[in-house]
Symmetry: C2
């Protein structure tokens, strides 16, 4: 690994996203999702499962206050092999002074504050900041004197804190809190929440670690790994990086920690402990092997990509070649064997997990929105280590398709699960597809996806650009105005594009003085490597490496660069090992994957086929691209020459009849962007179509 | 319904199955399954889950004996709305004096004795009969004085008897016990078990019924309905028929009995009772509607066809037109919308149930062996009401394919689940397919399928023929020698055929005197209605009705009938609403459905296709039929002109690549009978193939 080419995401305060496509998404998040989310956190949304998140913080805060008034304080649970000191009995509380919701309900706040933070960098909003500050006050009031901050245990009794790392998400709560706190600090300069996160992290760093007498556990749901790296980066406090590395390196060690803690709990509860002999169980948590030895992406897919992101962070910061090699193997396992053409991951709803290689069912897919988001996290981190367009291609695919599919075009409803084929009747009647919703939902009791969309959309610019001292990499093209600082000098960059609908990109440079640096632009995987063009007004050195054009020289005011990545329609087939896609094709154009909907193509999409005899014109696919509007959003649709198989007659006397050559009628199939599906009511959808 | 045309199955003592195909199956059952089953009942099979069945009867028997010695006796639980009188405390028993296994474990015996009974009619065996008599002694010793006989409650305490009809299978145990008892009585003339069954049925008839104060419940798992009809037929005791009708007519009544009993149990156990709001729950038990109002086959598919069989029985015996109309609607729902081309039913493993109409996935199919057996039960009963070949066609399809697929060619291992497409890797790695086994299993803890195969195979002749006073119907063609009694006279019939491999049937008649009667022969649905031939040496009246040829006249010694049903290969496509089969075909010939196996066609069966350009020769399919031997069993295989799609290169850099016309190589595809799949080790299998 070449430390000299490491990069970091740009500071969101140095950029404004002006892009028509992404600005619209960010405005949806700002005007719809963030306020809605805040109402949800406060249980004010009708017809939605209450979050209880802020309720829990308030209850915990009141308990803290009572104790402080009485002069008592929480006793820190001290780690011992067997258990924890029990707290003195809490004073009786009114009935509603209880914890409600999932054990990780605190993270609803953490994700919200993170999205708020990013949004404030793009759109300052004093009222929102005030609301956020007040929320932070409520959250911080719940923190124990010793730094511990997870309302589930604070309210229910600290005696069981850290006794169920496998399932109880305390370190996940630490991770999200830290992500939110760092983001809010970076956006506003306010450090109250950051300090709270540090105190919680300090507490955890005292409790866990390689030193004798410390707990050898690690998170059941990863995220703390990458969050602690961010905390290290913002505070410079080495112990957070060490703690992250410790958590990573504990996974897969023997004896298995989750088994130890389960045995302890069993003893405490008088249960018989049974060793879990299912080899899949530890895969679910990516705790089946040492991380450096992992080579297949397995288990819960959100956990997996959060882990891999943390691994990439630590590999980079500690120049751990072995860790990086594992990241690369896991990357390859995902993108070569387990990635949907929509950039989604997670082939099975059972354990919300990866399935075995090439098992990518379309109709029962899980392809969780959060997993696609996590895939983008991982890709961005791999790009920071090495700018290779293969990472950016997949990141782009995930962001433009599965991530955005997670949110309705009006920002008011959400998908967890992003199938590639939907028959609504099956979603309603077939238990095997109950996880696939035929329409987006308002909010979820387990609200991971909507706030995750909010935080990634608000911070999208940090996926578009990374930088090092003298180089700025453009990974994703979106209209933006940003400033690249090179030493004392500033290069102002204005990028214009109509992506994802057109491959032309115009870059204008402004500077008071000449600025010597490198501007690197990704050559997208979807464009023809022979026909793209880079025209630069300045006389600079041009080099192509790993899918990026590097322009190095001295830039002056008024310089411009014109990039043109021809955006043609691709008709893709899958590796023949993907059984579900055999005999079928999918359409993409630029970063967008397309799908058919019932609204355009009628019912029974399985009877539609691409007309092989008409699909080709010379060297190109005979597919026309038309721009259209949907809910005030302009998008491209594809018109594909198709056939429609005649339905068997209802009068047909038997379910099975002698084969007759199929009667087909010519038709034109309409494909819309996958992310925009299901904005016109319930109906069939399919990404793959027979040919 | 025309009472004059009702028929009944022939007496198994009047027939010998001489057929090469079925005699082999019966011998497997006699020499392999029945002895193995007996060992299993007695927990003597290594590497198989113990049954505990005979253990439980012995424990209950010892308890009975102790009580009798002490002069005490079980107190009959008297039905009241709220609960039951508790028994006095049982004396302490040694640790192994407990009930083990499923609540319905008694039925392992009942199914075994039923198979034994049928087998004894075909192959008298004094040793086996002695073993059976001893087993009956053990079982009868466990019966309470009041007639109750379910070891689960006898051993665990009778206070909870009949408090959980929904899930605890007591009436299912009654049903199977009755089926076994009637069969053993009919086979051997011995009535000890029959009397025990009568006493249990009497007890149940006192306990349940429309009269005030009696329990209004009904079986959670149907079978008692049809069993009680058999008991009525063999004893002439009207109350058994009435009880059967009562059970049928209680289903779907309000308030829902299962909810009432659940509420009662909740109260007794101090639980909060929650109304089950899932509309699917009652469908599972076919208790969602009055049976006369049911029109879609739903829920647990074994339960469903057992219920429908009972409905058909009662419809026939009480000439209930409304009940019959429901049977016909349910029949149509199954065969028109929910039947696999293998004669299997049950599209989903969730609840081992029917899925919604036309949802017939091949790879996740449940298609339980027992459900196909139950379908044959139902079909035979519909045939008894009206000889229409549509019923016999489906019965034949179920018997020759899914029922026989349930047992290995050597009779030593069994399938519960009969998928139409198998990728072994998925069975091992994908939780969604864990119910699909890639190889047959030795025995099951829940041993329903193997003994069910044993009982239907041993009694196959009663599906082949039904009769009324002056008419004998041949529904299935199998080599056999039987005697039709007409008044005082006897017509001896010898039928020879090479079914299922050849459509020719030769019937020879022998009689001392001329016998006037009708011989009716089914014209199979799979033969060409224009080319089949019936040649009769006697001058008799010939009539065709509902798919049967009726030959009526006076038969004399030496008369003969030659039937020839041309057996051509069919290449079938499914109704276009079956999404899983779109673009695919399946092959059948005669009653046999075929499939491809990896052993013949290599891995990656999904890459195989029928070669459209070579599949037709004139008016026929260009498929050759070859006879082959497997494990000493001769069978036809099909050779089909095929194509094999080239695999994508492992070096291919991406999971998704630009579509290129598929490279195919010509090949010959081999299809073997579906029932014979998986007799050559683990491998891929597929019934449907792309065209």
């Amino acid at each position: 690994m070449d430390k000299n080419n490491f990069s970091s995401p740009i500071d969101l305060k140095d950029i404004k996203v002006t892009d028509e496509f992404w600005h619209r998404e960010q405005e949806l998040v700002r005007t719809e999702v963030i306020p809605y989310q805040w109402d949800a956190l406060n249980d004010r949304v009708k017809d939605a499962a209450p979050s209880y998140c802020m309720h829990n913080f308030k209850v915990a805060g009141r308990m803290m206050k009572e104790k402080q008034q009485k002069g008592s304080s929480y006793v820190a649970p001290t780690y011992t092999f067997r258990g924890f000191e029990a707290l003195p009995e809490d004073p009786a509380h009114p009935d509603d002074d209880k914890f409600f919701g999932f054990v990780f309900q605190d993270t609803d706040f953490s994700k919200w504050i993170e999205a708020v933070a990013y949004s404030l960098t793009q759109h300052p909003d004093a009222d929102l900041e005030k609301t956020a500050d007040e929320a932070i006050d409520i959250v911080c009031a719940a923190q124990l004197d010793n730094g511990y901050l997870d309302t589930y245990y604070i309210i229910n009794g600290m005696d069981k804190a850290f006794t169920n790392l496998k399932d109880h998400h305390e370190l996940y709560c630490l991770g999200h809190l830290t992500e939110g706190a760092v983001a809010y600090y970076q956006a506003t300069g306010k450090d109250k929440l950051l300090k709270a996160a540090c105190r919680f992290a300090d507490y955890v760093a005292d409790y866990f670690g390689p030193e004798e007498g410390k707990c050898k556990g690690y998170p059941g749901h990863e995220i703390a790994e990458m969050a602690l790296v961010r905390l290290y980066q913002v505070t410079g406090e080495e112990k957070y990086l060490q703690l992250s590395r410790f958590f990573l390196e504990q996974r897969g060690t023997l004896p298995k920690y989750f088994e130890l803690e389960d045995a302890r709990r069993a003893e405490a509860e008088g249960r018989t402990f049974k060793t879990d002999t299912d080899p899949m169980s530890y895969c679910y948590y990516q705790a089946h092997k040492k991380v450096q030895a992992q080579d297949e992406a397995v288990g819960h897919s959100v956990r997996a990509v959060y882990l891999y992101s943390g691994m990439a962070d630590v590999a980079k910061l500690t120049q751990d070649e072995e860790m990086l090699a594992a990241c690369e193997r896991l990357w390859n396992s995902m993108v070569r064997e387990k990635l949907y053409v929509t950039g989604g991951i997670g082939g099975t709803h059972i354990g919300e997990s990866f399935s075995f290689p090439f098992d990518l069912p379309n109709d029962t897919a899980y392809s969780e929105t959060c997993a696609a988001i996590g895939l983008a996290f991982f890709a961005r981190r791999m790009l920071e280590i090495k700018a290779d367009s293969k990472y950016a291609d997949v990141m782009e695919q995930a962001l433009y398709n599965t991530v955005l599919s997670g949110m309705a075009l009006d920002g008011k409803s959400f998908f967890y699960v992003n199938p590639l084929e939907v028959l609504p009747e099956a979603c309603h009647k077939d238990h095997r597809k109950f996880h696939v919703k035929a329409v987006r939902q308002k909010w979820f009791g387990c609200a991971c996806c909507p706030p995750n969309i909010a935080r990634i959309v608000s911070s999208i610019a940090s996926y578009a650009y990374t930088e090092k001292e003298d180089t700025l990499w453009t990974h994703l093209y979106m209209g933006s105005v940003l400033t690249k600082k090179v030493g004392e000098k500033e290069l102002h960059i204005k990028l214009d594009t109509k992506m994802p609908w057109d491959g032309k990109v115009k870059v204008e440079l402004h500077a008071d003085d000449e600025v010597a640096c490198t501007l690197a632009f990704r050559i997208p995987g979807w464009c023809n490597k022979n026909t793209y063009q880079v025209v630069c007004s300045a006389d600079v050195e041009q080099k192509i490496q790993d899918g990026y054009v590097y322009l190095t020289g001295s830039w002056k005011d008024g310089d411009s660069i014109d990039l043109d990545f021809p955006m043609e329609v691709h008709m893709l087939s899958s590796d023949t090992r993907v059984r579900e896609d055999i005999g079928k094709v999918a359409f993409t154009r630029g970063p967008i994957t397309f799908c058919m909907e019932e609204a355009d193509n009628g019912k029974n999409l399985h009877l539609c086929m691409v007309d092989k005899s008409r699909i080709k014109t010379g060297d190109k696919w005979n597919v026309s691209v038309e721009m259209t509007e949907e809910l005030g959003h302009s998008m491209a649709v594809l018109k594909v020459p198709g056939l429609r198989q005649e339905e068997s007659s209802v009068a047909q006397e038997s379910l099975y009849v002698e084969y007759k050559p199929i009667k087909e009628t010519q038709t034109e199939l309409t494909f819309i962007p996958y992310y925009a599906w299901n904005n016109r009511g319930e109906g069939e959808m399919s990404v793959w179509v027979r040919i």
